[in-house]
Symmetry: C2
Subunit: 564 residues, 2 copies
């Protein structure tokens, strides 16, 4: 591509309103441009990167005999009602009426429609297995779009679905996708971890996530100092290492605690530590108020809480609801005499004579024991902390932030049963199909790559996803010799179908160099004054090295770049 | 691709609910499947065709230095309000509120957003021209989706937009796209005509359409026996060849015409012909009732009417409105004494002593003349008829049906002005950018190709869009020699990256042959009994010819297929 003939621009200044390194650099490099909240235009230079990402994904899917198809984005709402997921997605779905007042949604993921597609045919066990996928636009009305391409409301997803006659088949199909995903993210040169995760809105038997390690990541990837344990914070078990308290149980006692509301303030009042408390958190879970009791030095894990209650959504109860249930100001909830179900973390079972809110403003109970209240259920409800014990080997756990770039789900027969996807087995009996579901967010990959591959000059694209592998930069457009050499190299590259950019703009060399660095082209050949003597400059964006190269050897050097 | 390992099916029976040859064949071939009204899943075999169509389009766009990008489908409604097109599209747009009650639409076409993208930069005249395009999903809430992929509510469109500093630049950009489109449709082997058309919802200076000739086409392509005149019926001028009537003007007279309502019945009553009448049609145009008067033997052209009134939408007035305006039952409207604006076709100027409705039930006026009423405007309002006179050469006009597969628009500076897209000229003055807009509907191309390329056995894909060029069909899976040869040929093809299908299903030969014919694979190699003797069968789907070919020459024959 010749820049002089192209729509091309870069921005010198940092982008306003962008809250991540990747979105700032992508905007400045003229690769993306925000069009509204959580939506971006992918500009020509960015589209080249996206196309390369798409190509990697397609190649690796095809290598596993997956077959590409294309679904509509508009789906009748009744499809999701049938599967029971309309409520699960809630207001995360964009919904509308068509002109005849029929309800439609914009598909956030396509398990249902793929089950419909597959149910048309392939009714005999002999027709299995198969793997169908699409690279298609998804829509999710996120509460808080952020970090540029990382959390958007419209994006391209590769979503694949496997269809098998039994669990062993699903395991095999899943293993193939696991392998394909490793190859895909390796080719993108992403540093990632594969972690066990919550099955969430998908449901099913197992989920694993590919987490690109990055400080900006919204997920916490829990690892271990001692073994290869790896898990999303959401589902990591807290190993219960507490010993039963050997204290004698005292009698529960109401104490006035004026001017003390936070755990720290109340602890100071009593001369105790947070771990001597039991915190009570009131939540609105699918419209019902419930209480969660956890040790005072711990945080509640909402994913575990939702799972325990088999619920879809939860948020902290409103001030009004808290005051209604506790008959006190916010901050004094406790499990004794509370007028709602209480779910208790199992570590509390070891505690004696602990302190709780008294459901009375400015009052706490001390010397509380398990006999003083009756929880609905006891379970692991706490967030794991860095330094907690690894559930596998007992060594300390470590935390890293991750961007979820891909996920795998063993769905089992859940969707087959709700969407009527059955096959006849060898005995002519109807059996439900075993499905798997596998997603990759393409724009999010693009952003994650930039988060991991940049420096203060701009983006440093890995070779397989770079918009161009090489730029050719003549210093002076007026110098005939320079232009002749630059054009000759450019023509050589295009003839060989090498992806190359000729910066033949009438700009100062410094501007051109800065732009080539900002947009992250891996290699640059500068055709400057020494071109007269047959000397060119070759720069490597990865190492920052520059070297002088004889014009005689430059073409074989170029060949090497594209061969590797 | 090996069929035994693929998701593949065909249907023996004609598809229910499909109202065109192409949709029936595409459904039966397992290439598409309806998912809801006006929406289809493109199944794996169909996706291969669509990808080839996409590839042709991309290659020819890139050859004209157009640059690909990607826009969101969700666009804030205010963008279309700004350009004035929100009303133009009306209920053809899908609209919704997001979770924060902000209004969004699903883009039916992207002139506005491309103007926004282009306005970010390229502010100097030196930065022009450029051509930006995308291959992206469009949404239109059609009143009556029909004919399978021909009129759908969600489809992939290649939409390109050119940006120039003056009309001469736009002319050049337009000519390049004209040329690219010819190449694109030639490569798809579509028989098409390029016709002048209404600029419609786009507005602008000029529009031309690429009409694939087909009996099912919803557009009428007007041609000429004598010259290369070519125009969409919508905008074709009616050449006014009427001579002024030489009759003496009589006095207008009210006549009771019991039991006569249609023109034919009233004509019979008076012993006259339809051409002696003036028809009065009452319409609701953008919410206002108006009347159109045309000669009794002509039809109203609504496109001309809309254009004349600078209106967006028109439909026949309701019975209630007609009765309110005419104070009579429906069927007796006439321009004399009518309480709404009257628009008159210019051919009526030649007429004398004509018959009209009297705005009184069961009554007509006879001997009506131009002095008896006052039209608001006089213009060409009639639909041209086959056999009318060509406006260029005077020979008779001919009609063909066409499917609009592509269109070109010279937009001029309309969008630049509404969307604030200006550049600074050499004198540092702000000037509006000249835009062009160019669309191709990809699924519609797929359907049009099938409408033109099929026989009673199924689809006959042109080579450049066939899902596979060649199928290899072994007759007996149990015959080791047959399978060895079939696999060897298959491996030879895949090694050479030839697109090939191996039908290794355990099915009867007749089933396999029928399927390969139905899905329209151009060439077939059958490996049957004579394979033992080194003889294979080669079938050509285009000619229907079969020939025996020696196994020694088959690979060079295959090479030829893929070379051509």
């Amino acid at each position: 591509m010749k820049l002089s003939k192209s729509f091309f621009y870069t921005l010198r200044e940092n982008a306003k309103d962008e809250d991540s390194v990747s979105s700032n650099l992508l905007v400045r490099a003229g690769m993306i441009k925000k069009s509204s909240n959580g939506m971006y235009m992918i500009m020509p230079m960015g589209k080249k990167v996206l196309a390369k990402i798409e190509n990697i994904v397609r190649e690796e899917m095809d290598a596993k005999d997956a077959q590409e198809l294309l679904m509509p984005a508009l789906i009748p709402e009744e499809v999701y009602i049938k599967s029971g997921r309309r409520e699960v997605f809630g207001s995360n779905m964009f919904t509308m009426n068509d002109r005849y007042m029929k309800r439609y949604v914009l598909g956030p993921t396509h398990e249902e429609l793929f089950a419909v597609a597959a149910s048309m045919d392939g009714k005999s066990y002999k027709d299995f297995p198969y793997n169908l996928y699409q690279i298609q636009t998804k829509f999710r009305d996120e509460t808080r779009p952020r970090y540029g391409l990382i959390r958007v409301r419209e994006f391209i997803m590769k979503d694949a679905y496997t269809f098998d006659i039994d669990e062993a088949g699903l395991d095999e199909a899943y293993a193939k996708m696991y392998d394909a995903y490793c190859r895909i993210f390796d080719r993108m040169e992403l540093e990632y971890k594969i972690v066990k995760a919550d099955t969430g809105a998908m449901g099913g038997l197992l989920s694993e996530e590919y987490q690109a390690i990055s400080g900006i990541g919204e997920d916490i990837v829990v690892g271990c100092e001692g073994c290869d344990f790896s898990s999303n914070l959401e589902i990591t078990e807290v190993v219960d290492t507490l010993q039963d308290s050997q204290e004698e149980e005292f009698e529960i006692q109401l104490v006035e605690t004026p001017n003390a509301k936070t755990i720290e303030e109340v602890a100071a009042f009593f001369g105790k530590e947070p771990k001597d408390f039991v915190k009570t958190l009131l939540y609105n879970v699918d419209g019902k108020i419930v209480a969660f009791c956890i040790p005072g030095d711990r945080e509640l894990n909402e994913t575990k809480a939702l799972k325990l209650l088999k619920a879809n959504e939860m948020e902290l109860a409103s001030f009004e609801d808290v005051e209604k249930i506790t008959h006190a100001r916010v901050g004094f909830a406790g499990p004794v005499g509370l007028d709602c179900p209480v779910y208790m973390d199992r570590m509390i079972k070891h505690m004696k004579n602990f302190i709780i809110g008294a459901n009375k403003s400015d009052h706490h109970y001390v010397n509380v024991n398990l006999s003083d209240f009756t929880p609905e259920l006891v379970a692991d409800l706490c967030q794991v902390k860095e330094g907690d014990i690894c559930p596998v080997c007992g060594k300390p756990l470590t935390f890293q932030h991750g961007i979820e770039v891909g996920n795998l789900f063993k769905l089992g027969t859940k969707y087959a049963q709700s969407m009527n996807l059955y096959y006849t087995d060898a005995n002519n009996q109807l059996q439900p199909v075993w499905m798997g579901s596998y997603g990759i967010g393409l724009e999010r990959c693009m952003a994650a790559i930039v988060e991991q591959h940049h420096d203060d000059k701009g983006i440093i694209w890995p070779k397989e996803v770079a918009p161009f592998i090489l730029s050719i930069v003549p210093i002076s457009l007026k110098d005939e010799k320079q232009m002749e050499i630059a054009n000759d190299l450019y023509n050589y590259c295009t003839k060989n179908k090498y992806s190359v950019l000729l910066d033949d703009r009438n700009e100062r060399p410094g501007v051109k160099f800065k732009d080539m660095e900002l947009i992250g082209i891996p290699y640059r050949i500068t055709v400057g004054r020494k071109a007269q003597e047959g000397i060119l400059e070759f720069s490597n964006r990865y190492t920052g090295e520059k070297e002088e190269v004889s014009i005689d050897s430059i073409k074989s050097m170029i060949d090497e770049l594209y061969k590797a």
